[in-house]
């Protein structure tokens, strides 16, 4: 026992130290990475041309030291020779203004670009045996024990029969096992219990669609977009921070990038769930059909019927993967903007999914559980950190001060009450 504890402490301390050190070293670069993913990744790659030029080696290309800041603030207004050449090369696309980025932000992004190294393919299996092995073991053990118990019972009855015969006690012929009422009753009860358990669970699970993975009208891979190309989730699902719906991007938004990207040349192999290979370029062509875009002339089809959209263009009818019942009110912005949750918390590692499937159960128990455990960004009066909105919870402030509470969970502020989600 004491050895175990020692080992545990050793491991714990080393992990702690590693994390601490890596945080210190990584923090600046991490900011740059986050900013890059949020602002740049939808159009730029570090190592190769994308909607915009590859950014690696930018320092050698720019005409002057401060040029990059001016360019980022307002690309359209830069008229020097390099800027003009750049614009001519990437016509008609022009880079978005980023006046909101401060100098240090830009420095962070640039540092990230300079330090960037191509990702190394993971070697060897990193996964560990999880709990499922244990339960199998327990199951086998139970079965073995049950068999032993059965044999012992049989041995017991045989021995008793032998001893009875010896002592001359007359007993009725023993009933064979399959006619033994006790065993039959036990069997029936067991079946009833099991049947009941599965029926109830099945009934509870009606309408729940964990792992639901419908085939979409276009093979759209989040792995390619969010994973390999590192496009920020919010670039396409901007509603997640403003609205109850994360919203699916409009076709025109897809075309922001795909006007330039008309071939799939990515490193990932595109494979459907059933194993068939997918031609990425053909899927992009499907998008062009929806958008009414002519890939050869690189223009939208003319609008001859005057309905305000290019001829042949029509919205994409995606199949909704995550369905909540109508009586549930769910607000993305509450969770993303106020609760500061990651998309992956509920949607799983979406950046690794070729085709999206429902990762969580989306059951009420699953929601409630998270609300019970998650701490809110509670306002700390002493150092004015946290969300100031929570300053109204005077009682909790007192309790925290006096040590009665150590943190405030979503449940504490009413996050498990019916009318937080049902109205």
């Amino acid at each position: 026992m004491s050895r175990c504890r020692k080992m545990f402490f050793k491991i714990f301390t080393s992990i702690f130290l590693v994390i601490l050190l890596s945080i210190n070293v990584q923090s600046f670069a991490a900011d740059g990475e986050a900013l890059f993913k949020a602002n740049c990744a939808s159009c730029h790659k570090v190592d190769k041309d994308f909607t915009g030029p590859a950014l690696k080696g930018w320092k050698d290309r720019v005409p002057a030291d401060g040029w990059i800041y001016k360019w980022m603030a307002n690309p359209a207004e830069q008229t020097d020779a390099y800027a003009t050449a750049l614009k001519a090369k990437w016509k008609p696309t022009i880079m978005t203004n980023f006046p909101q980025l401060k100098k240090e932000d830009i420095d962070g992004i640039l540092k990230y670009i300079d330090d960037w190294a191509p990702p190394v393919a993971p070697t060897g299996a990193t996964g560990q045996a999880d709990g499922s092995g244990d339960s199998l073991l327990f199951g086998i053990l139970t079965l073995v024990l049950a068999v032993i118990a059965f044999i012992l019972l049989q041995v017991n009855s045989s021995l008793r029969k032998l001893s009875d015969d010896k002592e001359g006690v007359l007993r009725p012929e023993p009933v064979p096992v399959y006619k033994n009422k006790t065993y039959l009753m036990m069997g029936v009860l067991l079946l009833f219990a099991l049947g009941g358990y599965y029926t109830i669970n099945g009934a509870i699970g009606l309408g729940r669609m964990q792992n639901y993975q419908p085939e979409q009208p276009i093979y759209y891979s989040h792995k390619v977009h969010a994973g390999t190309n590192q496009i920020s989730c919010l670039y396409c699902h901007g509603g997640a921070q403003d609205s109850k719906q994360a919203s699916i991007p409009s076709v025109s938004q897809c075309m922001n990038c795909h006007k330039a990207i008309n071939k799939y040349e990515g490193p990932d192999e595109l494979v459907k769930e059933d194993g068939t290979a997918v031609d990425g370029t053909a899927e992009i062509q499907k998008l062009y059909d929806y958008a009414g875009w002519n890939a050869t002339t690189k223009t939208y089809n003319p609008d001859t019927n005057n309905d305000g959209i290019a001829d042949g263009a029509k919205p994409i009818e995606w199949i909704k993967v995550h369905n909540l019942p109508d009586h549930v009110y769910f607000n993305h912005s509450q969770h993303i903007k106020v609760g500061k949750q990651q998309c992956q918390t509920c949607h799983g590692n979406i950046q690794e999914m070729p085709e999206v499937y429902q990762f969580s159960t989306l059951s009420m128990g699953w929601c409630i559980n998270c609300h019970r455990e998650t701490k809110v960004d509670f306002y700390n009066k002493e150092n004015a950190t946290g969300n100031k909105y929570y300053s109204i919870y005077e009682k909790f402030h007192k309790d925290i001060k006096s040590g009665k509470m150590d943190s405030v969970t979503v449940e504490n502020i009413g996050g498990t009450e019916c009318q937080k989600c049902h109205y």
Binding site: S250, V251, N323, D326, I392, I413, Q419
Partner: protein
């Protein structure tokens, strides 16, 4: 407490046996299949065990089948090009203007994902200050009315055929009206750009003219003003400057000229504030019990024919002459009113609802004599709501008959329905080329040759100038749903020269306002604000008064022919003149006085009920009054005026003049052939009431009152009344006092209840909340929501009821279901009578879920579907409710509603309700199930299905939205911006709402600082600890009211 102070019905007042009986069965349902088990045992029941098992088996199988079907595939279809300003799921708000006839209210339209779903008042408008009325609130539903016309049409035999393309229509009509004298027949137009277009139109058709026709006209007033002030117009009124208000039958809080504006002004002097509170003094002289009359401090009744005489008597009384009516109370009232008017030194106002020129001249003379002209009457700014002159219509019809007018273009009027001599108009219409721009196939449109439906106001550009210099702009909030076109565009096209640059109204409108405002920036700002108002408030200016016609007018006004029985026609706050008759929200809105829905009826006094029907509602020993009140079937009477008669059921209302029968216009809409009414005019309007416009008589101006003969019939007709559906078992719910006692001793008004509370609290403790119960006290650590309703400023206008319906997807149940007490309104307005049985005082009390902190409903729910939140909300969880209705039984306020049927089509099975229609459910309910109509539903609120209880949620979706915004901005102060739907709709700001834990909030201040002597909770002694407080009513009268009255009566 045997002598009740406040009563809702005669039965309650007299405690009759059948009333007692009726109150026992709260839900009034005939029970479903297992009804008759009562005392016979299960085997002898009509529905034996086997049937029970069949039902059980079927429902289990059906449920299993329905549940195990494959999960449907749901699509998510994003935009092709998302507009910049739309984020799916986030509403946008656009300023616009509600237009109906001449009515114009500046509003803000809430638009969700491209659909307008809610109307709010525009707080930038100084006319309404953000107030609305029931009709404006309901008008969003008119947009999705499935009777709206979908394309231009032309007459084809007995029916109509579609005209494809507007150009084809233009060519056809252009040819038809070319060279003819074209008359433009519209409702009052106060849009400056439209008036400019009409002027241009008249240039092209010089022989034509523009006639403005108001279904209920103010012609008498306009003509009287022409005689007295030389101005053919209506001035603007300042009820906020009036310390004394005398109204002669003018329902200025309900329907008269601009009720939303006047309610807002009136309420300013009806609020109690400060140490020495002052109130305006409001006298009402009238024949029927109007909404305004029910709010008056002192109210007197007279026959409709005596209106002129009363006006003359007030004029004379100002000079000291005593009135000489046979009714001494009336004489005393006139003396009191005159004394008060005189002493107000000009801060007084006399208004009159009569459409008689002579009476209005006398009223002008009174206002001149008391100095109101220039203080409360402003001639510098005119009211442009109503401009119709009755004589013009008569001339028009004559000219149509004679051929002097060859073509009539009709917009927004329906004279075939609302004109007194409908037949004459119909005949004249047949002789001319007729074009209708009306949006639905109404009585007039179906007789026209060409139809080019105009947009609904929510689809339109436009402007309005309700008062001189005060503009309100319209902008479309949705693309036109159908092939409709702005009627102004038609006028422009038909009158402009070929090749003209401007040939549609949108361009015209933009050019017009850009030029008028000087720049695009100012234009955009004006559109965003919705209103353009004078930068400085102009001083109130008097008109120059001439009394040349006065003597003549006095003689004429005092000598109107009178009769033993007289009728008076009035408008209801819901249906108004009948243009919105197919709006189910308005049809189901109970009238504030009679509480009747879906019908009009003859309002009569108890005295007339006794003499005419031998129905003695005042005395429980005689007559069969109980039957009358308890059963929906009411006796029908036949009223005849000038040879035209109408049969209507009676409603007995105390406070009616004994000789007067009051009839509401706006009902009885009917197509030429009865079968097509439901399709053309609508399922809701079909069969609702009778048309009483034919009883209007014309003698220079339209007269809305006449001498009549009346006789009883043997028939009965059911009326769906909502009052006494929620009955409070004799517990006191209203506290009231008069101003003098309140100033003398503010504590007196709540003395009784305060004593009672102390008596039931554990000895020695003063903490009623904690120490009068065995239940524990729960913390409300963050927010605690609370509402306060001021009974002093609540006028009963019911805008809140419709606002609540629109915001919370409250279903329409139809007349049959209202009769069975199944109405769904989350917020109702209870009407109580008190005092003098012949002329009682009226108190309105909005009643909604009180969100009790110690709620009786919560304890009895077997599945915990209703429980309490840490913010003080009584939460109702529909998907958990199994429909036992224990909670509704246990609610002392009777505010919980049960979904008896699938009113909204929310059940899983399509067409589930079809077998119900006709037997349990009216066709009008199905109107709300239409795909088009369902576009009005608020996507943030669950649409409830059959079998669950629902009730007021304090607009929890709005509370959550406000909190989310405050959290995003990290600013708790933003919570103070919260507005619930009823509060936002209220024109008098009678409702306050907020966080009681926030000491800076209005609600905290009202309860604990400003109105401590008036704030009470209904049935507080039950210790249910409601979160809705009321402020006791204070009347400015010399009479003793409330508690004191009883003591006095006893002496």
């Amino acid at each position: 407490m045997s002598n009740k102070k406040y009563w809702q019905s005669f039965g309650e007042l007299n405690q009759t046996a059948s009333f007692e009986e009726s109150t026992k069965n709260e839900f009034k349902e005939e029970l479903l299949p297992l009804a008759d088990l009562d005392d016979k045992g299960i085997l002898d029941a009509q529905t034996p065990r086997r049937d029970f098992l069949k039902y059980l088996g079927f429902s289990t199988a059906a449920a299993a089948l329905a549940a195990s079907c494959e999960t449907p595939i749901r699509k998510a279809v994003p935009y092709l090009n998302r507009p910049d300003n739309i984020i799916p799921g986030v509403p946008n708000y656009y300023a616009s203007t509600y237009i109906n006839g001449g009515d114009a209210i500046s509003v803000v339209v809430k638009q969700r994902d491209g659909r307008p779903i809610k109307i709010e008042g525009n707080e930038l408008s100084t006319i309404t200050n953000g107030g609305t009325n029931a009709q404006a609130q309901a008008s969003v539903l008119d947009l999705y009315d499935n009777t709206r016309l979908r394309y231009p049409m032309q007459k084809d035999g007995s029916g109509f055929k579609e005209v494809t393309g507007f150009d084809a229509f233009d060519n056809m009509v252009g040819a038809a009206i070319a060279g003819k004298a074209v008359a433009l027949l519209t409702s009052t137009v106060n849009s400056p750009s439209t008036l400019a277009i009409i002027e241009e139109f008249k240039v092209k058709y010089p022989t034509g003219r523009h006639i403005q026709y108001d279904a209920i006209s103010y012609s008498g007033m306009i003509q009287a003003n022409e005689a007295c002030y030389g101005k053919k117009a209506i001035p603007s009124y300042h009820f906020d400057n009036a310390k004394v208000i005398v109204s002669l039958g003018a329902d200025f809080l309900g329907t008269w000229i601009s009720p939303t504006e006047f309610s807002n002004q009136y309420s300013k002097n009806r609020k109690i504030s400060g140490e020495q509170p002052e109130l305006s003094k409001h006298f009402q002289f009238e024949s029927t019990m109007s909404l305004t009359g029910s709010n008056a401090d002192d109210r007197y009744t007279h026959k409709p024919s005596e209106t002129g005489a009363v006006a003359v008597a007030i004029l004379n009384a100002l000079n000291g002459a005593a009135a000489s009516f046979s009714d001494t109370k009336l004489n005393e009232g006139i003396r009191l009113a005159a004394t008060n008017l005189k002493s107000a030194a000009g801060n007084a106002l006399v208004v009159c609802g009569s459409n008689d020129v002579n009476i209005q001249i006398v009223i002008n003379a009174i206002n001149e004599a008391i100095g109101a002209n220039g203080k409360t009457i402003n001639w510098a700014i005119r009211s442009n709501y109503k401009k119709g002159i009755d004589g013009d219509m008569v001339t028009l019809i004559n000219d149509m008959n004679s051929g002097a007018i060859g073509a009539v273009l009709i917009h927004d009027v329906n004279p075939v329905y609302s004109y007194s001599d409908s037949k004459k108009f119909k005949d004249a219409l047949a002789k001319v080329v007729s074009v209708s721009f009306n949006g639905t196939m109404d009585e007039t449109t179906e007789l026209c040759k060409y139809i080019l439906p105009s947009h609904h106001w929510l689809e339109s550009w436009g402007d309005a100038e309700p008062k001189t210099g005060y503009y309100s702009l319209l902008q479309p909030t949705i693309n036109p749903l159908f092939k409709t076109r702005a009627w102004q565009t038609s006028l422009i096209k038909w009158s402009s020269a070929a090749g003209s640059m401007v040939n549609d109204y949108e361009t015209y409108f933009k050019t017009y306002w850009n030029a008028k405002l000087g720049s695009t920036d100012l234009y955009n700002k004006a559109l965003q604000d919705g209103v353009i108002e004078p930068s400085a408030i102009l001083p109130i200016t008097a008109g120059t008064f001439s009394n040349s016609k006065l003597t003549e007018a006095i003689t004429a006004a005092a000598s109107v022919q009178s009769g033993a029985v007289e009728i008076i026609l009035y408008q209801k706050i819901s249906i108004g003149n009948g243009s919105q008759a197919n709006n189910p929200w308005l049809q189901e809105l109970p009238d504030p006085i009679t509480k009747v829905t879906w019908d009009n009826y003859a309002m009569i006094s108890p005295a007339m009920a006794l003499s005419l029907l031998n129905l003695d509602v005042m005395n429980q020993e005689r007559g069969k009054q109980s039957d009358y009140e308890v059963h929906p079937e009411k006796p029908v009477i036949k009223i005849t005026v000038n040879g035209k008669s109408v049969q209507l059921p009676v409603i007995v209302i105390p406070g009616m003049n004994a000789a007067t029968i009051a009839l509401a216009v706006g009902y009885g809409r009917e197509s030429a052939s009865k079968e097509t009414t439901a399709d053309n005019i609508g399922k809701s309007a079909n069969g609702a009431g009778k048309n009483v416009y034919p009883l209007v008589s014309f003698n220079g101006t339209n007269s809305y009152s006449s001498v009549a003969t009346v006789e009883k019939t043997d028939t009965k007709y059911p009326l769906a009344q909502t009052q006494v559906h929620g009955f409070t078992e004799s517990r006191p719910v209203i506290y009231e006092t008069n101003l003098k006692s309140f100033v003398a001793n503010p504590e007196s008004v709540l003395e009784e209840i305060t004593k009672e509370k102390i008596a039931i609290t554990i000895g020695g403790s003063k903490d009623f909340v904690k120490d009068a119960t065995i239940y524990p006290d729960y913390d409300k650590p963050g927010i605690k929501w609370g509402m306060s309703i001021d009974l002093n400023t609540c006028t009963g206008c019911s805008a809140c009821v419709v606002a609540c319906t629109a915001e919370n997807n409250v279903s329409v149940v139809g007349k049959m279901q209202v009769q069975r007490a199944h109405e769904m309104h989350w917020l109702r307005i209870d009407r109580y009578f008190t005092g003098d049985l012949e002329n009682p005082d009226v108190v309105f009390q909005p009643m909604l879920c009180q969100h009790c902190d110690n709620a009786p409903c919560e304890n009895v729910c077997p599945v915990a579907a209703t429980n309490h939140s840490s913010e003080g909300l009584n939460q109702m969880t529909y998907n958990r409710c199994i429909g036992t209705r224990y909670c509704a039984n246990n609610c002392p306020y009777k505010v919980r509603r049960f979904n008896w049927l699938d009113y909204t089509g929310a059940d899983s099975f399509a067409d589930n309700q079809n077998p119900m229609v006709g037997t349990y459910m009216d066709a009008s309910v199905m109107q709300m199930n239409d795909d088009l109509t369902r576009m009005v539903l608020n996507p943030d609120v669950t649409v409830r299905s059959r079998g669950v209880i629902e009730k007021c949620s304090f607009c929890v979706q709005r509370l959550q939205e406000t909190k989310l915004e405050a959290k995003k901005q990290q600013d708790p102060k933003l919570v103070r911006n919260v507005k619930v739907a009823c509060m936002q709709a209220c024109p008098t700001n009678a409702i306050s709402f907020g966080n009681v834990n926030d000491k800076q909030s209005d609600i905290y201040k009202i309860r604990n600082v400003e109105q401590t002597h008036r704030a009470f909770y209904v049935m507080e002694q039950l210790h249910v600890l409601p979160n809705v407080s009321y402020l006791a009513k204070v009347r400015n009268t010399e009479r003793h009211i409330g508690v004191e009255e009883e003591t006095n009566a006893a002496v």
